[in-house]
Amino acid sequence: MMATSYNAKDEDGRVTVCGPGGGPLLRGKKPENTALKQQRLAAWQPVLTAGTALPALFAVGLLFIPVGVGLFVTSNNIRELEIDYTGADASSPCFSCSQSFSWNSTRPCTCTVPFYLEQPYESNVYVYYGLSNFYQNHRRYVKSRDDGQLNGNEKSLTEPSKECEPYAYRDNEPIAPCGAIANSMFNDTLELFYNDPNGTKIQIPLNATGIAWWTDKHVKFGNPGGNDQNLSAAFQGTTRPVNWRRPVYELDSDRGNNGFVNEDFIVWMRTAALPTFRKLYRIIGKKDNVVPTLPRGNYTLEVVYNYPVRSFEGRKRVILSTISWMGGKNPFLGVAYIAVGAVCFFLGVVLLAMHHKCGNRNGDGDISN
């Protein structure tokens, strides 16, 4: 029945005597009178009142609506054209290419997609390729790379990380670059021609550099050995990924854009967040202020159709777009801002009405208990 809690401390007689009764007490020190200990810290005590909540709502509303309008207008001024060249339909020019695809075919299949620009594209034009239903964000896909190897680490080059499996070795030779991402690199070649009204086909120069993040190009990716001079030597002892036709050191003739620092490769390696994505392919630089970069008229897109997507019902697109300060065309943001702003404003009005009609206006400090 009697269970006492024994504590040797209690037994050692260090007890102070309290009062006449002599009850032992355990401690006897007056607590310090500090704001912290007495919970009297100075504090700001915001109260949610009509005076604070409603103006906040109106402010949000009034702020969001103009921003939204601005965004919407900006977005609408951006020109954007999207061309699907998957070749899923029989009518599509790339139908045959898409049908007769094989990784091992040596002869490239080319298809030509004509299109018409109704409006001239004034400033720089950005050419994207877009893939749909392509799960670059799949966990196994995302991790299937070796950043050490891509950074130019010699050891990783010859001993790729386990994460790259099953694309780490081929015939006991390490794959460079290893992993599923690199293995599935987008390898269609896109060329753009302007069909001059006078009948000539003028190839539009596409700029292949400046399409990757600066940190990717200069920090994250690097060729082994540090020098870009003799890449084939640097990649000695490695083999190309299974799906590739050329080894990594033959991606581009430009030394600064070859090997792991090839920008097409870097762009591909930056995995997308969603299964439908676009990646920057080329940039069409603005020539001068007089001539639009892409004038109105007929164009032809020539595709070297290497990349199969039909097996998983994927789609391939080409997107031509101009950009503004806020990037490419993005109507959603503007609409969302306008909508949220309007809702806030409306909510503010409703709440104000409710507050006036049936709110507890107890400004006089009366408290009913």
Binding site: M1, M2, P20, Q39, H138, I211, K220, A272, A273
Partner: protein
């Protein structure tokens, strides 16, 4: 999943005996042997012999670890926690590459953090335990080794050693007392450490050893003790001493237990029987129960639900994975083949399930438990630090002894309070008196200046300087020699059973058995009638400076039926006079008819005193002629000797002489309440807390205190008193009470309106809560109750008219709607019936409909039962508060136990969860700290679940877009740090510092406490709201960036929809949203909150930039994949626009919803907060117009007790024990002076262990021959009214009781006395009331007892005396044939069960 229950216990270095035992069990053969120990053989001074048995040494080890074992043992213990094991399991899962969706460190970092924090704390605690162990183990004691006294450390004391103890030393082990410096081998010990009783107890050695005397004899002592194995029974010891071919029985009476302190004894020698862990103290160590708050339980349920939810999510996503892998993934294999072991979509789905379990586990982060503990720890420190709960007189601060219960303090609905020492100070003060129709004492005008305290010293050098009296007219009349005043005080100085001790000339110390008596005698002393000393036959006083010695002819002792005591004295002039004091009800009937007029006046005064809540006594005297005395003396002697019906005949004899007395006046004694008790009770009951007083005291006393502390008020509708003796009658009384309540509340419902109108006019007078109506008329339910017009003074319940059958318990909903204020007073023996299984519900429904409940005469066990029954039937939080060892059981069984560190030892404090020294601190503990703790904890939990759902559920939505592959949305470092760095501090700061209203307001508006009781702030509904909000947030956080970024590009044309940009955007948005949310939730922005909120945001950005920096990448290119993401992402305006949009969408609805709630349905706290804001803005000294009214409550006590239009209550003041008169006249306690009295004067209930113990049959172990002195005392036969069990102590003191058993040689002659005097282990401080309670409770359940309460008004006291007498009578009859000395029988009343 349980919370880490180790933590709370380890904050305090309390010993966990079970754990120790467990470890001991592992220690192998030695302990194995000890477990099976069946008897213990110890030979004195023979270490070699004793070593054979391998008894435990006296070294105690309360520590759990040493340096080597710390890590494994501690880890083992920690992984016994389900939570920790769960996280370990997750960690293991993460090591499987196919499953691992997160890096191993996302789990191991928090887990390691938690484990190491706990380990550090355990280590610190254990270090202190080591320290205190060492300190205790290294204490010095004197051990007799090879005939020499040597100093030994405690830990080196062995079983079988003879040790010497000196005064005021702690006993080092359980010792058999061998000899002592005092006569008869007596010694005195204080057992406060063991059982909390501060009074001294007597121990006596076996006579043969007490003669050993000096060291040399002791050194050659080679007796062998055979006794029971170690056990935890503090009050029992059974053994035999074999020495020189003789056997001697050993009992607890011969034992000195470890933990006791030797007092008033120069030195003593003892033989070590049990040492170290075998001592009874250590065997008793340990907390019995681990308490857990309702929030804890709710939290655990919710966590389980969340696990269910987690599994559901996992299953949904796994199904999704199966479908995806079959429909899409299988086609996608040319780019992304399955991992080697996966060969079909089902297996892939199985793996995905585990992967998602890992990812989604953050809905229940490990940091939840740690954070909760941290917050509680913070709250506990606030309690410890609170200056307003610091008692400067006692120099004691409040102490939160457990850290686990703080928020439950905000939910208390029932308080069970002890009375003495808790509500009252157990200090009686002589307050008023009425002498010859003239009333003296404090003026009735409470508004006037407080009169000056009288200074007695110039008038009377013997005066007690602590005595306070304020009316100088009384002193004047004494000085001028008013005969009535002189007789009055002379009576007070003679008619009592107080013992005095005069340490030096004039320095008198009175040892009174009841504080009332002490107060009266002290009053007489100060007014010039100083009681100096007594012998069995005389009383010496100093009357107005002149020493006088009276011959004490007889003491007509007090008992419960008589309710009075008298002395018959012969003064130096030879006149014989009877002085009598007693309850007005009995005494006024026995006055001489000529007193009629004076009686009327005095009666009015008595009413007045009673109305003030004072305890009254009426004083009277009667002059006796020599003849009368002779005649009566003869008849009394006859009665005394009567073999049968002795009790009755004695009573008749007393009755005969206590007649035709002359009224002198009346005294009024205030049972001093502790400071602020009425206000505290008023405030607490305004907070809708029901207060029950559970006391061992008498009904009258308890009711009286109930009134004086405003629990009971005269405007209560009705006070029911349950005092039935049988199951039937208790049931009837309860039923009647309920009927009456329903009836009254029905009639009230009808006349509600009128009642209100009338009420305003006439019914507030004397109502302490008047302010309530003045403040505001629209008080609603609470106010309405107050408006009830009180009925005429509560009548005592009508005499029982047994109805044919007990009314069935009314439907509970009827009882829930009782309208009106009722109170219930129930007696211990009725309670015993009421708590029986079949009546439990009836009792609870009746009692809970009452505003106040007083249970009197309850045993400690019943206190716990009452608490348990409420816990069982009502889903409410209970709090028990008490100060004595008798409250321990109640404190332990209530949800929250509060110990008052007062004057009764530290037992209650040790068992309690919170302790402080004043009852009034309770309001601050509950209304301020408890309320805040609850509020903070609820807000914390709401936010915590919210933020984790917002964080985690994003993965769920992402699953639909990433092929259900368990790809995380965020960077793994973000996942690791989110809970422990980015969001932990702001919510911790809120959980520790938040305040909705300042502390004064919570005291001013006790209604603010209600949300806690109703559990409004965090319940399942609130939880679902939080979860829903979290899920909503996660939806927004995923889909808004998803929609915006999918087509967006940087201003360089690079698309923004890459995974890393998306991760950074979502993470940033998440951190910002939850920070804004905490900013909304925080109501009290201290510097710390600012630092935490802004610091967390800052740390998020700086850590992110650091982790995404080139430097780190260059060192570990394989670990930091996100290099450059932060920079390139956060420089984009679109990203910020996205974050702003998401934040607005998340927060605006919350803002609008909260505003609506506050605006349309404001809680009281909102209103108070708003008012404060308004007041601050006005900056005008509006004063305390709102709150001030509430402060008015304080005025109730300013005028001490306040005046009530009082109904007259019997202010019967005796808290006495009977049997004391006999003790005095027998002279047995004289030699002992203070000791025995200290024993008796201790609170009756303090030896409840004895009470409980006696329920077990205890005859078996101690057959002792009768004490010689018991029979040989000549004085006994003259005066003793009834013989109380008290005499057991005197019998010990008077002679030796430990004659050897002698192999039962004395056949016939010995057996009879042996049977009749199974003296309980004597001088056990067997406070008779305590034992009597146990007896009565036991007897009443089994046998019908002749009701003795014929003269108690309305039959509402069942007197213990009756029970005792009934027992006595029965026993006497039973043994009459055997024993010629019935007087020795009552000694064993406590044993007959």
């Amino acid at each position: 999943m349980t919370i880490p229950k180790e933590i709370p216990e380890k904050w305090f270095p309390l010993v966990l005996p079970l754990k120790r035992k467990k470890q001991k069990g592992l220690n192998g053969a030695k302990s194995q042997k000890r477990w099976t120990e069946e008897e213990r053989r110890v030979r004195a001074n023979d270490r070699e012999y004793n070593e054979k048995f391998q008894y435990a040494s006296n070294c105690i080890m309360t520590s759990k670890y040493n340096i080597v074992t710390f890590l494994p043992v501690n880890l083992f213990e920690q992984f016994q926690e389900v939570a920790n094991t769960y996280f370990l399991f997750l960690l293991i899962l993460q090591l499987i590459p196919q499953i691992s969706s997160l890096s191993w460190f996302t789990t191991i970092v928090p887990l390691a953090l938690v484990l190491s924090i706990t380990a550090v704390k355990d280590a610190t605690d254990d270090y202190f335990r080591h320290k205190s162990d060492n300190q205790v183990n290294n204490r010095q004691s004197q051990v007799l080794i090879r005939g020499l006294l040597q100093n030994e450390k405690w830990m080196n004391v062995r079983v079988g050693d003879v040790t010497k103890l000196e005064n005021n030393q702690f006993v080092s082990a359980d010792l058999l007392l061998l000899s002592s410096s005092e006569p008869h081998g007596l010694c005195y010990i204080e057992t406060a450490e063991l059982d909390g009783e501060t009074n001294m107890k007597v121990r006596q050695s076996v006579s043969v050893t007490s003669e050993l005397g000096n060291q040399n004899n002791l050194a050659s002592f080679d007796g062998e003790v055979v006794c029971e194995p170690p056990n935890n029974k503090l009050d029992r010891f059974c053994g035999t001493l074999y020495w020189r071919d003789k056997k001697y029985t050993l009992t607890n009476q011969n034992m000195l237990l470890r933990g006791c302190v030797l007092r008033n004894t120069e030195a003593c020698y003892g033989l070590v029987i049990f040492a170290g862990p075998d001592t009874k103290l250590m065997q008793n160590s340990g907390r019995t129960k681990f308490k857990r708050t309702s929030i804890d339980r709710l939290m655990n349920t919710l966590v389980l639900w969340i696990f269910g939810f987690l599994v559901c999510m996992g299953v949904i996503l796994a199904v999704g994975n199966a479908v995806w892998e079959r429909e899409v993934g299988s086609l996608f294999q040319s780019y992304l083949p399955w991992d080697p072991p996966v060969d079909n979509f089902l297996f892939s789905a199985f793996l995905a399930f585990w992967s998602y379990v890992i990812i989604l586990n953050t809905v229940v982060p490990i940091s939840l438990y740690v954070s909760v503990e941290v917050i509680r720890l913070g709250h506990s420190y606030f309690i410890n630090w609170d200056q307003e709960m610091f008692c400067s007189q006692c120099n004691t601060a409040a102490e939160a002894r457990t850290t686990t219960l703080n928020e439950e303090l905000g939910q208390v609905e029932y308080i069970f309070s002890d009375k003495t020492g808790t509500l009252t100070q157990n200090i009686m003060s002589f307050n008023k008196c009425s002498i010859n129709g003239q009333t003296y004492g404090e003026g009735t005008d409470p508004l006037g200046p407080r009169p000056k305290r009288l200074d007695f010293t110039p008038f009377n050098p013997l005066a007690d300087p602590d005595f306070c009296f304020y009316d100088d007219t009384l002193l004047e009349s004494v000085k001028v020699g008013d005969a009535h005043a002189h007789t009055f005080f002379r009576l007070l100085s003679l008619c009592h059973t107080v013992m005095s001790e005069e340490k030096s000339e004039g320095e008198l110390v009175y040892k009174a058995q009841s504080p009332d008596e002490g107060a009266l005698v002290t009053a007489a002393r100060n007014f010039g009638f100083v009681f100096r000393s007594r012998t069995p036959g005389t009383i010496t006083t100093t009357e107005m400076g002149r020493p006088v010695t009276y011959t004490l002819l007889a003491i007509l002792d007090f008992n419960n039926i008589r309710k009075r005591m008298s002395v018959i004295v012969r003064n130096p002039e030879g006149r014989i006079r009877l002085y009598c004091k007693g309850a007005d009800t009995v005494l006024l009937e026995r006055l001489h008819p000529c007193n009629q007029e004076l009686m009327n006046v005095t009666s009015d005064h008595l009413n007045e005193y009673a109305a003030d809540g004072l305890r009254t006594l009426v004083l009277a005297y009667r002059d006796l002629s020599e003849d009368e005395w002779e005649a009566w003396s003869e008849s009394h002697r006859c009665a005394e000797k009567a073999a049968s019906c002795r009790e009755d005949r004695m009573a008749a004899a007393y009755e005969q002489i206590e007649q035709d007395m002359m009224l002198l006046g009346a005294t009024a004694i205030e049972d001093k309440l502790q400071e602020g008790v009425p206000e505290t009770i008023a405030v607490l009951s305004l907070a809708n807390i029901k207060i029950w007083v559970l006391t061992g005291d008498k009904q009258e006393t308890a009711v009286n205190i109930g009134y004086s502390c405003k629990m009971l008020t005269d405007d209560m509708t009705e006070v029911f008193i349950i005092s039935g003796h049988t199951v039937q009658s208790v049931r009837q009384e309860l039923g009647r009470a309920r009927e009456r309540m329903i009836e009254l509340s029905r009639s009230r419902d009808g006349g509600k309106e009128e009642g209100k109108e009338e009420g305003k006019e006439g019914c507030f007078m004397g109502n302490g809560f008047r302010e309530r109506q003045e403040g505001d008329g629209t008080g609603g339910g609470g106010g309405g109750k107050q408006l009830q017009c009180p009925p005429p003074p509560p009548p005592l319940p009508p005499p029982p008219l047994p109805p044919p059958s007990p009314p069935p318990p009314p439907p509970s909903n009827l009882m829930d709607n009782i309208f009106g204020e009722f109170a219930l007073v129930i007696n211990g023996h009725s309670l015993a019936h009421a708590l029986e299984a079949d009546m439990e519900t009836e009792f609870v429904s009746t009692a809970c409909a009452c505003k106040a409940v007083i249970c009197c005469r309850v045993t400690p066990l019943q206190k716990a039962q009452v608490v348990d029954v409420i816990k069982k039937h009502k889903k409410v939080v209970t709090l028990a508060i008490g100060d004595g060892a008798n409250d321990v059981s109640m404190i332990k069984s209530a949800h929250i136990g509060v110990g008052i560190s007062g004057q009764e030892g530290i037992q209650a404090v040790l068992a309690s969860d919170y302790s402080f020294s004043q009852f009034r601190f309770l309001q601050r503990l509950l209304l301020v700290h408890g309320r805040w703790s609850y509020l903070r904890m609820c807000r914390f939990l709401c936010y915590f679940f919210y933020k984790n759902f917002a964080f985690t559920m994003v993965h769920f939505w992402f699953g639909f877009f990433c092929g259900f592959s368990a790809q995380t949305v965020y960077d793994q470092y973000f996942i690791t740090l989110y809970n422990i760095v980015y969001t932990s501090l702001p919510v911790l700061a809120m959980g520790i510092f938040d305040q909705d209203v300042p502390d004064q307001r919570s005291l001013e508006y006790p209604k603010l406490y209600e949300p806690g009781q109703l559990n409004l702030l965090f319940n399942k509904r609130e939880f679902f709201i939080c979860i829903a909000q979290g899920i909503y947030t996660s939806v927004v956080l995923f889909f808004v960036p998803c929609a915006v970024l999918s087509d967006a590009t940087q201003s360089t044309g690079v698309p923004l929809a890459d995974y890393q940009t998306f991760a950074v955007t979502t993470a940033t948005a998440l951190v910002i949203v939850v920070s804004v949310q905490i900013a909304l939730d925080t109501g009290f922005w201290t510097v710390i909150n600012h630092v935490c909120v802004w610091g967390s945001l800052g740390s998020f950005f700086s850590i992110m930039f650091a982790l995404h920096s080139q430097t780190l990448f260059k060192i570990f290119p394989n670990q930091f994949h996100f290099v450059g993401s932060a920079q390139s992402t956060l420089l984009q305006p679109v990203v910020w626009l996205t974050i702003a949009l998401a934040t607005a969408i998340c927060i605006v609805p919350v803002l609008a919803f909260r505003f609506l709630k506050v605006d349309l349905k404001p809680q009281l706290s909102d209103t108070v907060r708003y008012t404060q804001l308004v007041r601050q803005k006005k900056r005008k000294p509006v004063g305390r117009s709102v709150g001030g009214a509430w402060r008015g409550l304080g005025s109730v006590s300013d005028g001490r007790l306040g005046a009530r239009g009082g109904s007259r209550r019997s202010g019967y003041a005796f808290a006495h024990q009977e049997g004391f008169g006999e003790l005095i006249t027998s002279g047995k306690n004289m030699r002992l002076s203070t000791m025995a009295l200290a024993t008796f004067a201790s609170r009756h209930s303090s030896s409840w262990i004895d009470t409980l113990r006696r329920k077990k049959p205890t005859h078996t172990h101690c057959h002792t021959p009768p004490s010689a002195s018991g029979a040989s005392s000549p004085a006994r036969s003259c005066v003793s009214g009834s013989v109380a069990p008290l005499s057991n102590s005197s019998s010990v003191l008077g002679g030796s009781q430990d004659t050897p058993i002698e192999e039962v040689t004395a056949q016939h002659t010995q057996t009879v006395p042996t049977l009749s005097t199974q003296t309980p282990p004597a001088a056990e401080a067997a406070a008779p009331q305590g034992s009597a309670q146990a007896v009565s409770a036991g007897v009443l359940t089994s046998a019908a007892v002749r009701p003795h309460g014929g003269d108690s008004p309305g039959g509402w006291t069942i007197t213990l005396g009756a029970v005792q007498e009934a027992l006595f009578g029965w026993k006497a009859r039973a043994t009459a044939s055997n024993s010629p000395r019935p007087s020795s029988v009552p000694m064993e009343t406590s044993q007959i069960e």
